[in-house]
């Protein structure tokens, strides 16, 4: 067994060896290293062909037209481009935006930036299951609402939103609908021919492609317009300038191709491993599942170990790589805003661990993890006065803490 065991596939994934191989062939002199914008020579043409093929591969996974794919440097850029780009373009129609409190920071911070520019943003509270209540969403829609941004799969608790239903609501009202699909592509089937989604963000490194590349789907029928956030040579039909990183794009295309072919089988395998992990951990006392795995993405398991502090637990289980929430915020010691938003108290939010299982996880990895978690949680609880009080039957909520 390879250690440390990697169980943080929602943060990032290793590049699939098949992907890496294709990438390498796009770097060197004897390979396909050209600038795809160079129209005057074969190096440029070959690079442009490779980019076109990858565009088709990405479009195929989500049943879109390749012309609807705009390359970006990653999902963060896609989210920024979609939200600020659509808000700026449609601001004459209205200045109201609806999103949810459990979105990725790239969406939330883009919205905050727009608020400073005079836009108004409604942040919906999800239900305890993590799902958005569609009635509440509908109630929040106004005459001047121009954009709704709801993520497909939440990065921390893995819950899958009903974007088909939301799309019907937004389309009927002429509101632009953006979906952050960084965590869902390659894990959940996406059919943009049927879904009434107007803008959708994708990332490569969450599905065994390289970091530093992503895409934004921009619907052509009905045509959605966005204002470019990065100007220059007019690449990507003017929506996103900058030399196209061919090796990264080729890598993303290959990763999406593999996902399309292997997703179904892989999901089955991963779901079995996830269930095995939960049934192992579920035997412990005071363990809480965050989110609803039955309505969630296959590889995600978010668990709170009451009376144990999440960060100390992560440090104690060094042999496994897990996180206490989204990687982007794990440098801060704030409890997860996602868990807070679904109604978890500070203690439980602080004691949460996200396990995310992926392509290279084995049953041995899972069994080892269960055993290690049991051992370390017991040990940490053994040092905790709160655990002792709980064991003695004291209701901690009734304790009057004295100030020092």
């Amino acid at each position: 067994m390879r250690q440390p065991i990697y169980l943080d596939y929602s943060a990032t994934t290793p590049v699939d060896p098949r992907v890496a191989e294709k990438m390498m062939a796009s770097l060197t002199m004897d390979g396909n290293f050209g600038n795809p914008a160079s129209r005057s020579h074969v190096f440029g043409w070959k690079a442009d062909e490779a980019v076109s093929e990858a565009r088709q591969q990405v479009a195929a996974l989500i049943n879109a037209d390749p012309k609807e794919i705009v390359w970006t440097s990653g999902a963060t850029e896609s989210d920024n481009l979609a939200i600020k780009g659509a808000a700026h373009f449609y601001q004459r129609k209205g200045k109201h935006i609806i999103t949810s409190k459990t979105e990725h920071k790239a969406v939330l911070d883009s919205c905050r930036q727009l608020e400073r520019e005079g836009f108004e943003v409604t942040y919906l509270d999800p239900e305890p299951s993590g799902m958005i209540d569609l009635a509440k969403l509908e109630a929040a829609m106004r005459e001047d609402t121009i954009l709704v941004s709801i993520m497909h799969v939440n990065n921390e608790i893995g819950v899958i939103q009903d974007i088909a239903a939301i799309g019907e609501m937004t389309r009927a009202r002429g509101i632009v609908f953006h979906v952050d699909a960084a965590q869902s592509a390659g894990k959940v089937a996406i059919d943009l021919d049927k879904l009434k989604v107007d803008l959708m963000s994708f990332s490569a490194h969450k599905i065994y492609g390289p970091k530093g590349i992503g895409a934004l789907y921009v619907r052509r029928k009905p045509r959605i317009r966005i204002e470019s956030q990065m100007h220059g040579g007019g690449h990507e039909r003017g929506m996103r300038s900058g030399t196209l990183p061919v090796h990264q794009i080729v890598g993303m295309g290959e990763a999406f191709r593999i996902a399309r072919e292997e997703m179904e089988l892989e999901n089955k395998r991963i779901r079995t491993l996830r269930d095995r992990l939960w049934s192992g951990l579920n035997g412990m006392e005071e363990v809480y599942l965050n989110g609803d795995p039955q309505h969630g993405v296959a590889g995600n398991l978010n668990v709170s170990f009451n009376f144990v502090e999440g960060e100390s637990l992560i440090m104690a289980v060094k042999d496994i790589a897990v996180s206490s929430g989204s990687a982007c915020t794990s440098a801060s010691l704030e409890p997860s805003y996602v868990l807070r938003a679904i109604g978890r108290n500070d203690e439980l939010a602080h004691s949460s661990i996200r396990f995310s299982i992926g392509r290279f996880t084995t049953a041995e990895d899972v069994d080892y993890t269960i055993q290690l978690m049991k051992e370390k949680v017991d040990k940490l609880r053994g040092m905790s006065p709160l655990w002792e009080m709980y064991q003695d039957g004291i209701d901690l909520n009734s304790v009057q803490w004295a100030a020092h």
Binding site: Y6, A11, T12, T13, V15, P17, A20, L27, T28, M29, F33, G34, N35, A37, S38, R39, S40, H41, F43, G44, T72, S73, A75, T76, E77, N80, H104, K105, A106, D109, R112, Q113, H205, K211, G212, I213, S228, Q229, M230, H231, G232, G233, G234, S241, G242, T243, P245, V246, H247, Q248, E311, M315, K318, I320, A321, S323, A327, C328, T329, A331
Partner: protein
Amino acid sequence: MSVYLDHNATTPVDRRVIEAMLPYLHEHYGNPSGLYSRGRYARQAIDTAREQVAQLVNAHVSQVIFTGGGSEANNLAVRGAVPDLRRLAVSAIEHASVLESARAVARQGVKLGFIEVDVKGRVTEAAMDMALSSQPQLVSVMMANNEAGVVQNIEKLAAQSRAYGAIFHTDAVQAAGKMALDFESLGVQLMTLSAHKLYGPKGVGALICDSRIELMPQMVGGGQERGYRSGTENVAAIVGFGKAAEIARDELVVRQVHLSSLRQSLERQLTLMGGVVIFAQQAMRLPNTVFLAIPGIDGETLLMELDRVGIEVSSGSACDSQKIGPSHVLLAMGVEESIARCAIRVSFGRDNSESDVTSLVAALKQQVEALQSASLLAWV
């Protein structure tokens, strides 16, 4: 085997760079924000690359902000350097990413001035003074031009600009790796770099930013790069950029000597041959760039002819090559449109040799002779 003479558009990645990058795809693939060992390993690799890039331009590591490329860094500088931007001046020969982001902010009400260049493609002291008299808060002049290769006296221009209290940005994408750069002694506040012009990977660049600048991020969410540029770090590419920067620094003098000998050889032979115009020949230029024209042969036609014999050049900036039209750089230098339309750019790289020059000269000679006999026929 074809001859690649378009290194200002992009360069192949150095083998040593690829070797440095590979482990960060397979083994050390962690998200640098992760607290576990794989995450920390990736974080350390980024720190090392930051040092390597800082050293290439004699900046401090804390001044390096990694971006998704040169275009993004230029956009970030133009849009982010001044909190309440009202007046901006950029040179007329900038790269499209500076020109277009400047025009974008101008559409939002910022007053935009263009700094003229002289016939040699240089921003003169007088032109700079004129631009500064309208009190821009931010000035952007590129270190070396991507098409003509003209190198500006940035140290002097930055000093002038400082006297007016303006912030100075220089796009050094083409200069880095081809000439020595010293962020500190140049006296600029912002400098743009790109990896794929110096044998590093595409999709990564940097903005070097003086700590006194209150840079406003353009891409938010996650707070990476100390909040100046959010998004999961492109670890492998950043590592590749660092390695490419290190190699560029180590091999700078060797490369310069090699490139300028190729350039001199080409220009000497072209001068002897006649019928060829070399733009900005009297100006200080990058050692690898020759911007030339055969008056009478359209640039697009000429480069297709060269392509037929396996020689890869471009008619100017790769970024603008979808657009048909004469080079804005040549027009700014006062070159007649009819001649500007004939321009092609030759940009040498590390792996070119004297025999590549010979092939190019032979091909150009054939074109000139064909043209001359055609005009003779027309005469008869």
